[in-house]
Symmetry: none
Subunit: 191 residues, 4 copies
DNA sequence: GGATAATCGAGACGGTACGTCGAGTCTTTCC
DNA sequence: GGAAAGACTCGACGTACCGTCTCGATTATCC
């Protein structure tokens, strides 16, 4: 019966959060600032989100956030696929707004592990899933050792992206190649 | 002639920081709280440290912090050495206070990249250095490919420890073994 | 054609106002609270009343408010009549809800002089009128000096009741008698 | 050992309160506004005063507030003395700032009876005391009935001033005279 | 007996002020 | 001159009400 929630206000807050992240990092975001920037009352923010981190979560999940649009290819060549994704992800870390977003995610996780865990799962799981499937497909094709642990490979890639984002150090193309080489050789079949 | 800096006050502040981290995480630490806990005036803190992060840095560097005392062995067997260190580091993440410390370090890095970078270098560099030397020694011994990139290996290990700490997920012994296997096979020599 | 105003809602709001006054005084009354207490929407209140003070006014004027039901007798004896009324009014100040109501009236007057003036007129004027007539009748009967100023007497009584209500100090019977004595003697005829 | 309370800040707040009262009445005073006007932080206000009313109290008690400087004469003639004071008090109600102050006092009393009582005592008691003494002195001189109740006279004067202030109606000189006449005749000795 | 039009409840909205907390600076006294 | 104590300004916190604004649901008329 009451007036329905204003989608406009919601979007304005999420947009303000993204802008604020890019401008000063997660630590510099204030509810007061978001409210002013979004031209929304504080009450409206507190009505719909439990915490600053919750806004971040929704801002990350909502709409197309920059850097998460890297494709997860599925060709016949494992090396090509992995290199394509890893290279794109590394390159995205060259964009300041992507680094800001990633760091915000990390800061939240380090501060509020529960929420952070949920958010990380939301972002990491599809990638882990994809890598796992890719590796298993390669194993079925005989390109990879029978006892290769796909999860280890997946985690190594994700951990490396996370670490590079945290330190704000995009990986060079050479480094991307070297990393893919090492990890693939680590699970390569005898011949 | 002037009165020298009170070492007692300094230690009290650092101790208070470590206790506060364990108690509520880095985000819950306040200068005011540290001052009260350490029975030190706020002025004394501001006189000697530039920021909360600086106190954290000194608290981490100073004295024996739990979890950083993992040994860096140098036997003849690369696998044994790496497994020993990686296993000890992973096990340390089972202790809540170690996770709290590591997360504080990550939170600071995500919030204040400059300081974070310095702190991370301080902690990661010795390990990277050690792994690099160990790998290079193995290469000289012919246990490892001539073109093995020691830096890649080192970073993979460090990134994985950082990521596990962030998510608060200690690695199982099986996972430790699997990870070491993959990475070593990735640089193993032909024979 | 349209739906008429809900008398039920109106009464509920006025009742809620009276209850709220008794519970916490005029300063503690909120529109939001009234709406909740009366199970009425805020909009309904704003549709029909211009201000909190307006609700108070209507609550005071509407129905039998406690303490305003003191009779205004018109016997042949001025002293008896005045004492009867003044005594009853003083006694009413012994009831907390009467004091609350009176204080609310005073608070509104001190805050919003215009409205307060209207409300005070509404309550005081009949009494002033009555006293004036009573005194003038006594003057015609020769019980009172020819130059007696009825308005002064009336105001003295009203001012005293107002002041006693403000301070929440009901007057004792002795004090009532003494006051009536002084004021009547002040206008008594020579013989 | 710590820095002592800033008298400057205290005075600035009290002055701001007096200005705010004159500007918009007690109801329009906000702590936020006082802080801004006094160029003092809210914290400083909350540190030293428990409520808005407490600031008002101190503002009223502190220094020479306008309208409270009416003299309390002690000549040989009771009528002259009372008329002098009552006339001066009535005249003061012609000044808007005096009315604002008085109304603020009344509003506080109607809202916070406990504090109001204390404040009213502080202001009314000296006057009641003075009138009482003046009347008793006249009684000793035989100018007044032996059974005259000085307290009744004192309260009548004070109540009338309070009521006139509440309604913002200064008393005319004629009304002042008439009132003094009635009350004095009310306690006059037989001759 | 429907249509219709203002009412009602509910509650979201942009605001203002609340009273609290901590940040970082300043001032005083003691050692 | 270092240090404890704590007052100072400043700004954000999260809450409570304000007065306005939609909503869908509910009546009393009037056709």
């Amino acid at each position: 019966m009451p007036r329905p929630r204003s989608e406009k206000a919601r979007q304005a807050v999420l947009a303000a959060m993204r802008r604020a992240l890019a401008a000063g990092g997660y630590g510099a975001v204030t509810i007061e600032g978001l409210a002013a920037e979004a031209e929304v009352s504080k009450q409206t923010i507190y009505r719909w989100w439990k915490s600053k981190a919750a806004i971040l979560g929704e801002a990350l999940l909502d709409g197309s956030l920059p850097g998460a649009d890297v494709s997860l290819p599925m060709t016949d060549d494992l090396r090509t696929d992995l290199r394509a994704w890893f290279s794109a992800a590394s390159a995205a870390l060259g964009k300041p707004e992507v680094v800001a977003l990633a760091r915000a995610l990390i800061a939240v996780t380090a501060t509020d592990p529960e929420l952070g865990d949920a958010l990380n799962r939301r972002f990491a799981d599809p990638i882990v899933e994809w890598i796992t499937q890719r590796v298993e497909r390669a194993r079925d094709a005989g390109d990879v050792r029978a006892d290769a642990d796909a999860a280890v490979i997946a985690d190594q890639f994700v951990a490396m992206v996370s670490y590079a984002a945290l330190l704000g150090r995009p990986l060079s193309e050479e480094r991307v190649d070297a990393t893919v080489d090492v990890l693939l050789r680590g699970i390569a079949s005898g011949r």
